[in-house]
């Protein structure tokens, strides 16, 4: 079992960045870098992370990094992976670096899905991390394909009326060797998933729920608490899928096994300002019920059935 003590001390994410206070992406980057080490090439898809790394001529990221256009995460990885192969053939690189793509939900669910799907089908050897803050946070919190039902965004001023799509399942349908979801409240779980992904050849997809304090409207100090409650309420399910087999992990595993009671979705919604409006509206109860139903439905799809104690 890995413990915090085993995590390397070296920081490849350098303090004093331009990230907001309590930014989930900067924390996720820190932990990911610890898992992957310095022999990594990072591709950042247009997102908050393009901005939080600092600006010319300085950077907060001590890795070779290429900032790429919004729709090009997967394709850019294919290019780097092919370039790396050529350099290895030429004898210029002794050890193949890990290729890591870092994209938000907009760059993954929406504008980048074609490129990501293409790279997965091409079996490009890379790790794709989607840090999902369920909205276009960088442009000022607009709705995305990852925004959950009921959530306020600047383009869903009355709350979103559709459910989010389940892109992790879309990636599993590509039959890639590794798909996992992660939460910042379970850092060792995330760390181990990144390490595991590093050891597997082919396309690996890891999705991190990234509660954005200004976008979701909660104090920055509660970023980990909100992450944790997302898992405890079932709104975010932690699992990994290796060669088609799904296994629950972390807090979700404990809920599925009946070791802890799932918390009501309402507890999670009430922590965030983005659901305040819908909860106070006449449709508030309906939205809450629909989200609870969605949780059960997601568990049923992953697990085959919903244990009665949930």
């Amino acid at each position: 079992m890995v413990s915090f003590k085993d995590l390397p001390e070296e920081e490849l994410f350098l303090a004093g960045s331009t990230a907001c206070q309590g930014c989930p992406s900067s924390l996720a980057l820190r932990i990911a870098f610890k898992a992957l080490g310095s022999n990594t090439i990072l591709i950042v898809v247009a997102s908050c992370t393009s901005v939080l790394q600092g600006s010319y001529p300085l950077s907060a990221i001590n890795l070779p990094l290429m900032n790429v256009a919004f729709a090009t995460g997967g394709a850019s990885a294919s290019g780097v992976a092919a370039g790396v192969k050529a350099l290895v053939k030429r004898g210029e690189l002794a050890e193949e670096p890990t290729v890591l793509v870092w994209a938000g939900d907009g760059g993954t669910y929406d504008i980048g899905i074609q490129s990501l799907s293409g790279a997965a089908e091409r079996e490009t050897d890379f790790i794709y991390v989607c840090y999902n803050n369920e909205m276009y946070s960088n442009t000022g919190t607009q709705r995305s394909g990852a925004t959950p039902l009921g959530a306020w965004t600047t383009t869903t001023p009355g709350g979103k009326v559709q459910h989010r799509k389940d892109i992790a399942q879309i990636m599993i349908a590509h039959r890639i060797p590794y798909v996992a979801t992660a939460s910042l409240a379970y850092p060792l779980d995330f760390y181990q998933k990144m390490q595991k992904a590093k050891g597997i050849r082919g396309t690996k997809y890891i999705e991190m729920l990234a509660p954005c304090p200004p976008g979701w409207k909660f104090p920055s100090a509660q970023m980990i608490e909100v992450s944790r409650l997302a898992v405890q309420s079932g709104m975010w399910l932690l699992y990994e899928n290796e060669d088609g087999e799904t296994r629950f992990t972390g807090g979700t595993k404990r809920i599925i096994e009946g070791k802890v009671k799932k918390k009501p979705v309402k507890d999670y919604l009430e922590m965030q300002g983005r659901f305040r409006q819908v909860l106070a509206s006449p449709e508030g109860q309906e939205a809450e019920d629909l989200l609870e139903e969605q949780v059960s439905d997601s568990i049923r799809r992953l697990h085959g059935w919903v244990p009665e104690y949930i």
Partner: protein, 409 residues
């Protein structure tokens, strides 16, 4: 090696001879043969490269950029809608300063669907920062592709380069051509040495946020790269001639220019057709000459100013149009000559969407243009048939349909 091949296959063979290492590509008519040949060469072990079967042209250009930034020599090919779909990434390639070479098989942009030749696709990408060269023949396509790497990889340039060849006229016709071996090319083209790359041994960030305080300088530097490219292009042509004994001009190529009073200017295969027109005009006693523009970017401003001085009249052929203005080459020529050469310039727009252009037409229109018998801008081969006629009455058909349906209700 002397081969009888299509223009497309020759492009693939030239990429192989240039030791291209990564080829991301997406098929589009009429470029397909290029990437089919690349795939075949790799499959047969004759080409030591990674082929990336991308799912779109936008991705093709993204992978082209990132492979090059990793330090590999990268090449791609596209056409028309594919090039248009790359538009964002064309800017990206130039802005992040990667020395990639891409063949573009010039084809019309729809709608309506038209797979035949004109220059609307590449002309529309004029301001992306790419170096653009237009070839007039098969051997030139081979030689220009090899020279392309030499030009773009020069550290004073580092701007992506697009080799444009005309759809079908060059891409699908067979001609015999000399394709140099890898070893021969090695004598001319050194291995690619990047200034910056993605390397864990020297971690730097590419494409950071750049504030107004610095952004303008990054763009001015691209302009400087184009300025430097002019001399690099001339040098690349000179040295190519030294090594291989072949020359196709540098930024421009002249034909019977010395004593010419009247000039035709053109790009691509129409300049080969224009040569025949010039020969015929010479036979009838007209002192005609051809000034072929090879590089559209960087634009051969200096060459034009020198070569167009003291001419009686010029006709510029465009296989494109900048809607609301005129032929794009025509505009550029006038801008370059303004204040430097007092010579009338007229524009012939022909060959749009693959319309056949004969030397007879060019000779006829050139004489009319030089004599001032046609307007400043003329669609030289337009003709209206009954099916082209659209009347107001026809456009109102829907109105009448709605009216009659209302009555029925």
């Amino acid at each position: 090696m002397r081969v009888l091949e299509t223009g497309n296959h020759l492009i693939a063979l030239a990429a192989e001879a240039s030791r291209v290492e990564v080829v991301p590509a997406y098929p589009i008519t009429p470029q397909t043969q290029i990437i089919e040949k690349v795939a075949e060469l790799i499959d047969e072990g004759r080409m030591n490269a990674e082929y990336i079967p991308v799912e779109s042209e936008h991705s093709a250009c993204a992978a082209l950029v990132s492979a090059s930034l990793t330090g590999a020599r990268a090449f791609s090919a596209t056409s028309a809608h594919g090039l248009a779909y790359m538009h964002e990434m064309l800017h990206y390639a130039a802005g992040i300063r990667v020395p990639v070479v891409m063949a573009n098989v010039n084809r019309a942009l729809g709608p309506g669907w038209n797979i035949w030749c004109d220059h609307q696709d590449s002309i529309s990408q004029r301001d992306t920062g790419w170096i653009q060269v237009y070839v007039a023949g098969h051997q030139e396509a081979v030689d220009t592709l090899i020279q392309g790497f030499r030009i773009t990889e020069d550290h004073s340039v580092l701007l992506p380069l697009m080799v444009n060849l005309d759809a079908f006229v060059l891409s699908h016709t067979y001609m015999d051509a000399e394709v140099p071996s890898r070893e021969d090319v090695d004598r001319y083209l050194p291995p690619y040495k990047p200034l910056w790359k993605l390397d864990p041994r020297l971690p730097v960030t590419h494409g950071s946020v750049v504030y107004p305080a610095d952004f303008s300088e990054t763009r001015e530097s691209m302009q400087l790269g184009h300025k430097n490219a002019r001399e690099v292009i001339r040098e690349a042509a000179r040295e190519f001639e030294d090594v291989f004994g072949r020359r196709h001009g540098d930024l421009v190529e002249g034909y019977l220019l010395d004593d010419a009073e009247y000039l035709v200017m053109a790009m691509g295969s129409l300049s080969a057709e224009s040569r025949v027109a010039i020969d015929r005009l010479r036979e009838s006693g007209v002192k005609a000459g051809l000034l072929r523009v090879r590089f559209f970017r960087p634009f051969p401003t200096e060459e034009l100013r020198t070569l167009c001085r003291d001419r009686a009249s010029i006709m510029v052929i465009d296989r494109d149009v900048s809607y609301g203005m005129e032929g794009a080459l025509f505009s550029e020529v006038k801008a370059a000559l303004y204040g430097h050469a007092d010579v009338p310039v007229r524009n012939l727009i022909v060959g749009i969407g693959g319309r056949d252009v004969t030397y007879e037409l060019i000779a006829d229109m050139a004489q009319k243009a030089w004599n001032g018998e046609i307007g400043d801008v003329t669609w030289g081969d337009s003709h209206t048939t009954e099916s082209h006629r659209v009347t107001r009455e026809m456009l109102c058909e829907f109105d009448r349909l709605f009216e009659s349906e209302k009555e029925v209700r």
